[in-house]
Symmetry: C3
Subunit: 357 residues, 3 copies
Amino acid sequence: MNKKIWYPLLAVSTLLSAWAHFYTSIQPLQFGTACLSLLFWAALLGKATESVAHYAGERIGGFLNATFGNAAELIIAIFLVKEGLFDMVKASITGSIIGNLLLVLGLSMFVGGVKYKTQNFNPVLAGHNASLMMLSVIALFVPAAFLTDPTRVTAQEDITVSVIIAVALILAYILWLIFSLVTHRKEMGASVDGMVDGIENEEHAIWSKWGSILVLVISTTFVAIQSEWLVHSVQSVAHTLGWTEMFVGAFLIAIIGNAAEHSAAIFLAMKNRMGAAVEIAIGSSLQIALFVAPMLVFVSLLFNRPMDLVFTNYEVAAVAVSALIASSVSRDGSTNWYEGILLLLVYVILGTVFFIV
Amino acid sequence: MNKKIWYPLLAVSTLLSAWAHFYTSIQPLQFGTACLSLLFWAALLGKATESVAHYAGERIGGFLNATFGNAAELIIAIFLVKEGLFDMVKASITGSIIGNLLLVLGLSMFVGGVKYKTQNFNPVLAGHNASLMMLSVIALFVPAAFLTDPTRVTAQEDITVSVIIAVALILAYILWLIFSLVTHRKEMGASVDGMVDGIENEEHAIWSKWGSILVLVISTTFVAIQSEWLVHSVQSVAHTLGWTEMFVGAFLIAIIGNAAEHSAAIFLAMKNRMGAAVEIAIGSSLQIALFVAPMLVFVSLLFNRPMDLVFTNYEVAAVAVSALIASSVSRDGSTNWYEGILLLLVYVILGTVFFIV
Amino acid sequence: MNKKIWYPLLAVSTLLSAWAHFYTSIQPLQFGTACLSLLFWAALLGKATESVAHYAGERIGGFLNATFGNAAELIIAIFLVKEGLFDMVKASITGSIIGNLLLVLGLSMFVGGVKYKTQNFNPVLAGHNASLMMLSVIALFVPAAFLTDPTRVTAQEDITVSVIIAVALILAYILWLIFSLVTHRKEMGASVDGMVDGIENEEHAIWSKWGSILVLVISTTFVAIQSEWLVHSVQSVAHTLGWTEMFVGAFLIAIIGNAAEHSAAIFLAMKNRMGAAVEIAIGSSLQIALFVAPMLVFVSLLFNRPMDLVFTNYEVAAVAVSALIASSVSRDGSTNWYEGILLLLVYVILGTVFFIV
């Protein structure tokens, strides 16, 4: 799109959304304007991510993006925990994980695959991601399988186990950062960088190194603000349409909350940088499972309203199914449009049953 | 076998079976003659498939075989749906999937592996097959996991979800054909064809190109006819022996209905064309899950007797177990006799519990 | 450690343990001395295994070690079966499998990975091991899934199915030995041996060929004796601490019973012989699932106290979870410290819930 039109549109949509939020109470208007503005900011975030990745290497760029992208979700979830809406929190955690693994990854593979016959990325990284997803599924599955018999497990033991699992997950996350960014940085990034170098040289960076980082920070901030406004209004809009809280949490909030990863990953996939796109999608769902979910357990303790990690069987089944198909598809470090379609179809099937149950 | 004896035996056994079916009511005689005749026709089908594959390339040959092989099962299942015998239909769908994944694939790997130390095929194709099997398992698992609580799901919602899942499965199947035969035909077939070329040149085609296709069509037709006669008589034979409908549907009907894939796959495995053998076995079970099962849902709507896709937990467990072990064994694109034994042992274990439960 | 101190310490700790066992009844003393002595014998076993492996090749060495290491567990389990303590037997089988897959393998990968950046082994072997683990999980899962409905399955049918599954498991085990040691010996061992040859030549064997075997046999014998004494005393020690039988069987007995594999595998991992370490850890858990568990079913028939193979849902879940994460981590034939941490974290999570449930 022409730059002369693009930046004014960004500014106008943001001002419109702010006006609707602060000076009106017409929820559909708030929803529509926030949606429009979010689209522009997410697109800018995509550009900024690419630019930072250009300077920082694919992995760091992907990691930064996943971090900033999930900031919005973490903030929303903390407010939900504060008000004791644990079912809503767990549904949005579930929805963010399956949304990233199926919708974001599926759309990236499909859109990228339509343009490029086969897209490749570091299979070693994909293998590690699969193992980490397995750990996440196990961490969600174990409390649901072992702690739901009230004749054997007390409420206190329930919280104790949840805290121990939360500590294990945070530990796995921190050590993963040390592993991938310090001790094995070269192994994790090497083959991707080498693969992309040829393409990179043709591109021109839009902003300078620090300029890119500034744009990244600003656009992430606005994506977070707009996400919150949008989620705020979408809830009442959804209730008037008669949708369940579980469906709203797992699909509507999650889709909107992940719009940033969404557009960034698809932009990268269209530029044949599938490694970074996969990193955003899978990295983001890993961060939710290994970082956001356990952090919320600790936050709930601070609020003196302890939340456990016992998800419903429906949620565990949905996450397990998503992790299995996503790791099956991405395991070989090579993707195509059909693999994207497979993930999207599973997303539609899960969406259908969550809508009805 | 000498051709001078072979073709007369084919003709005689077919005439005997037809006579037993139309002019007698002695069920064991109908069963025996149909069995014998089926053996010859299936062998001819194997030869014809090989010959067509010689002209069309391995994948198309394998695909054609899987299509014709499942025609018999589709016809039988449609009659069962028409009479509302949904449990029998689902048991035979389950049985066909696990029969192909465990019995046909297991026997092919074992028989081929006894002759050749290691047999190789395209691992990219194996990876895609594994992902598609995963989709099939998910499609079977999701309704069984989400729709069995009658307090949350109405009968109407049950059918609605089943139809949506059926549409998703058919879509996955059609797009898979476009993917493997149009957009990525070369990638899916290349390494297999390259691998086999050396062997191919030594062989002489028995029939001309169109002659092969004609023999393929005729032999498939007769395999279908004989399968139906055989299934017709085997049911009452089984009932006199005191076997359950579930065991008959899942094992007896499925084994006999898949005799075509069975012998064709084993013939190919013995000729060291494991790629085509795997394509027949896995391709056939995929076609049942992604094409036959959803088609039967639509057919049931036409008959005004809507059938859902809620399988029993036993059936879901059996399919999941089969898909896991089959994809674990075939994932690396290399097979040996021991991997065949593993699949056969799992088949025996499942057969035992289905017989008793 | 200096040899001049080491052997006297071994002798003294063994004599102390024997004295405590035969001439005192102070259980904590028996426990402490047996523990100390076991440590030395297990270390000697590690040395002997390495030395034998030096002469026999990695696989045979690893196999021998797994065999001798599980002798202790088999003997203990037979005594438990004789007394009809089936829940304890099943808990210790479960615990040995997950202990080998998570604790032994995890520690080996972590300790080896701290010293060497990446450790490699034969991925073909890893693929076969994964398929065999899958068979073990299926064999444990099928009775738990199909035989727990008392309205459909009689006690007699329960035993019949268990015996059939036991025969299938033993058959899989015997054929696996034929496969890996006779028909495909070269393929299974080749790449590992080739990889290690360079390192091997630098080492000096401590003992002669037959000397090594003698030390292996003697040390295995004493490890078994000390394990039994230790288990004998640890049970009453545990009971005074208020631990459940399930936790004691699955974690305490299993950890101590596997001390041999434990130290041997870690020693090998530290010498960068990850192939042998993985062979010990996974091979040992396979041997328990495919050999020890079915043997105990047959032994129970001899005692006229038939034991079935129906494990609790908790046990099946724990074994399935362990097999999934272990095969995900080892599938690529390459390990690092982080993959070890992942396995250890899952072990801690499972230990926590088993302690509480």
